[in-house]
Subunit: 368 residues, 4 copies
């Protein structure tokens, strides 16, 4: 099992950072869905390196070519393959990594797993560039979900120790997307965004990198989707989120914070509003017993700082057996979190779409 996700909807991601091309095959997508290419391109543009304060100078166009599954702007029901050519690669930057694995990068375990045959250039299949086809597949799913009234929205919850405002667990779905779009970084609080940018500039000067947390919400889900045990919505979403490079933690609702509450504080009474059954606090992030409650699904993903720092580092020379000093070349982000926002937002749409297909089927969806 490796680069395929899902049950009813299956997403296959392929490609290596400095290979010919990267791409995705989306299998099991409903037929007859009008594809909003402007929306997809906008999502991919959000992920693409801008060359700005925080991101790599590598120029990636991310233009995609549809090979199959879409005709005259509508899905045909056949597998959808989209391909993005690689370009602007500086492969020689990676020549020294075969013997000298980068600390906290996948170089060493990949070498063991693939017996030295993996492509180390640009991180190969482990590169964050592989999130481009993930965003393609996810935004394709979103273009379908939106027709069913389901929206996804994410923002930077924190970079290092600077926190944005948090989502109101119960009342998401007002104007957050518009507020976020107004800021240079995808944050709710302009002021927090300014402080984050200052942090990033300082880290760049110091040859260092920064981690952070992305918070995401899914609104418009009906209650009763998902399953207990291994089919829980949390299992499906976390399994997908932990496949995004650099994610080391995932929590739902109040997450690790709920572990410090008393039951009397954490419990979440039901009430009725406009003929809808709601809960007062949504500490559980829209999921109980693995199944949606109808409240917004809210989760957070923690991203570690990018391991490719500009400072010299000590590591083991696998050939000589000695510890030596490594200088990592290549053009890398300072902080992956701003670009991770659309990745999380769109990747999550894949899990939601798979869930809907399981609940409603191809025929059933026509009536939703």
């Amino acid at each position: 099992m490796s680069s395929i996700y899902g049950n009813q909807l299956r997403i296959s991601i392929f490609g290596e950072s400095h290979g010919e091309a990267i791409g995705t095959v989306v299998d099991g997508f409903p037929a007859g869905v009008a594809v909003d290419f402007d929306f997809i391109r906008a999502q991919m543009a959000r992920r693409r390196p801008s060359g700005g304060a925080f991101s790599t100078k590598r120029h990636e166009t991310d233009d995609f070519r549809i090979l199959s599954g879409i005709r005259d702007g509508r899905t045909t029901g056949a597998p959808i393959c989209a391909v993005m050519e690689n370009g602007d690669t500086h492969s020689q930057d990676y020549d020294n990594l075969t013997d000298m694995p980068r600390p906290s990068h996948a170089d060493y375990p990949a070498m063991v797993r693939y017996k030295g045959a993996n492509d180390p250039r640009g991180g190969g299949h482990f590169s964050a560039r592989l999130t481009a086809p993930l965003v393609f597949a996810g935004s394709l799913c979103r273009s379908f979900l939106r027709t069913r009234g389901i929206e996804l929205i994410a923002h930077i919850a924190s970079i290092a120790d600077v926190a944005d405002e948090v989502f109101d667990l119960c009342r998401i779905g007002g104007g957050e997307a518009e507020r976020i779009a107004q800021n240079e970084l995808p944050v709710l609080s302009a002021e927090a965004g300014e402080r984050m940018l200052a942090l990033i500039r300082a880290a760049r000067s110091a040859g260092d990198t920064l981690g952070g947390v992305v918070e995401c919400a899914v609104t418009g889900m009906k209650p009763g989707c998902g399953s207990p045990m291994f089919g829980s919505v949390e299992s499906a979403l976390s399994s997908l989120l932990f496949s995004i490079p650099a994610v080391k933690g995932v929590e739902f609702g109040s997450g690790f914070g709920i572990a410090a509450l008393r039951g009397s504080e954490a419990n979440d009474p039901y009430y009725s509003e406009n003929d809808q059954i709601k809960t007062r606090f949504n500490h559980n992030g829209g999921i109980l017993g693995g199944i949606t409650t109808g409240m917004p699904i809210v989760f957070r993903a923690a991203f570690k700082p990018i391991s490719s720092i500009a400072q010299p580092q000590r590591t083991l020379n696998l050939k000589s057996g000695n510890e030596e000093t490594l200088v990592v070349r290549g053009r890398h982000d300072i902080c992956v979190v701003p670009r991770a926002v659309p990745v999380v937002e769109n990747a999550a749409a894949i899990a939601v779409c798979d869930l809907l297909l399981e609940e409603y089927g191809y025929e059933g969806l026509a009536n939703v």
Copy 2:
């Protein structure tokens, strides 16, 4: 997809809290493995309610009967089915839940998902009692993993705001199991354990419940197991952990904490010790690029406080449409975390075993 986990090794969990019986089918387990029933019984005893300070007064024997797949103490290669009869049920305690869903319990979403046909008694298939067959399956896997030098160990990292010592991310595998076994609660620090017990007693008096965090480590894993993207070790483990009732967060290595570090702090240099390649800090919890590094795998799972509190609560009467006061009956734990320790420890063994089978296959394992 619901109550089946795994790729090469497939675990099916069945049963409802107040039904006839609960159990598991373990499919794809290697043949010829000597099963350590004493070990399995000891693990199940750790999960079983003790009737002590923190746990339910319900008397569950958890005696299991093997229906298939084990003969003369050795696995035959056929699916292994183990069954635990239910007993000592007070089903009438649940009569009022059909109309009045308990806050933060699965009652309401389950009712929607299953159109009112699900068994609400004792939580039905959503009951934490279903962790008994999970521990059976997991400890069966562990009895195999131990022959390959792989051990799992967990402790209470915290209950409410009382924290235990943390695992040394790099040096786990000394005498932690023995230290933990000496304490009434499964903690490293006897003193922290005392404070946790005091918290639990106070919560019981207050008619309240407590959450907490379980920390777990897997030692003895070779580097190079797992896959990038959707096949990451984090994806496999988190998907399993989020299927344990009440888990709302999962993190690996330094987890959410790593998001606050600089790259220069988080990076983890390689060095060599006794001809083994190691890393200095193991902030990544033994996993890079989704693949094992050979360092201990370390992760934490956050458990919310049990929703069944003794205090009266407000909730919606679905029939009348009015908010009313609910008194939850039934015999419930005050804090699930102590019993969750063996659940996490053994459940994780299932994912590890599946991973090994993928890497080595049935034949290959014979040579490991």
Copy 3:
């Protein structure tokens, strides 16, 4: 992968012929379905050895106990576990098989696959007795399919060189079930049945066994279910049919016979009748491009003669390395085909049910 089938609906079969018990877990079955236990028991009775002309003298009651997933006669949505205890086993009959593998039985490959740890008594997990839980799971599915107007019907197409009438590929669904039920063997032609029984009696006298072919039809399927390529209805059904012990061939519609036709003979014009789109000949057995056409699905499965014959046979003594004479003990059928009829009929219902769930989902099914 082994004893679990399906995508949305997952069937796990466990047990060994002379172990404690056999059974099945049906995971992902819709909730709220009224279970027709009389129907299920009738199907299981059809499979059970009758002790008559063609079947083993072993007395199997096949009484099942429901451990989970059904309450007050309705499915709860949780996994359904049913268990059948073993009894009346003569395990000593199998003592000589460890060294002397039976020709054309699974003894030898099973020994290699499971390194000698498999349970050889009664064939262990390879026993045709495992078709009992398969019939349970299948007839459970049928009790659901019938509420959607979908019926399955099978008969003996041939035993050795004696053939029954064949199904009219286009007009199945009249009174075939009633005609078949009137005969001692499940055949359309009473006269063919008589000749088959005579063959069976002669084979019993000769210490020999007989093979044959089962023909099965599924009526009431709407057009448009299934998928091209690997998701074809033929792929799903054949994968299930080839998991029934002794099946060595599967064909759809005119099957191998269609290979001898010209396109002008094989092609199947569409026409309209009572506002339904039909085809004139249904040579394709209700499936085109892997997808249902709305015509009856028709297929045939070839069963080899039971390998356990009463005549002495030569085989290899694996210990001595010499060829020796083996006398197979145990109580075996003379011809498995009559009992295979309900096995095929009900097993096929599992694949059909899985297909419907994929097409309609849990919610969607409610509206079918």
Copy 4:
């Protein structure tokens, strides 16, 4: 579930006959395997329409471009994507099919399944052109299997009523491949080949098409691969074979013929030869209890005649509701069987490769 096959090895096929391109993603393939591109190209050339007596005049180059997963001629362990551009399409030939579904083609069920949104040009995703990426994936697998001593070989068993010699079930693996390569059609008997060509020429003159049977063998498999029940080798292979367009029957060993034998005739004694355990007749086609016996795996697949005949046909006009006369345009094969030989041969390699990975794993394979 649709266009993805396999468990450990996953093959995704995408593309539509007249779309931009077709291709495949091979996920989970072992790393470090030297890819024999000459071998792959030779296999693809065998499948490609030759424009000769039996095949379409459409010119398909089938040149493939590797987008990922292979570097410097060796697999990297990342998913392998290969793409073949479409060209020489006459899409206007299919304009009349939307209203007038071709008899025995997928037009009508596809239209229902995909609500009219599928691409009907050239059969879209249902086109036999999709077997090109299947052959790519399969021959890639074969280039690996050959390094393990496993070979696949197929020939035309029959076209209409003209039969080739049959494989000797026990002694395959001598010079059959060489004999077959000498003939214009892939047959063992040159004389049978001549008669088949004569049949094909006559069918072309008559505006008709022909079906037939392909027989295939796998040699070099060790005993003990595969699983009972749903994991049987027959289940895996048949599920794959029935995904090849036009296949309507699959049988193993003596197949439907074995159903007419007595047990005393069908049984297959073990003996020892050169320290290898063998069976005398191999009626079971190298598989018992779903598991390999070490004898050659032999199976046959029946192909129906191509439905696109040159003769006018009657069919239903879905718009008018009247039966009308249809003339199918487009450039079509007269008999798909010659080109199906390499398709069966190579597709089967995918299932065998998946089986080996399950049995040996990535690490284990290194020692096979």
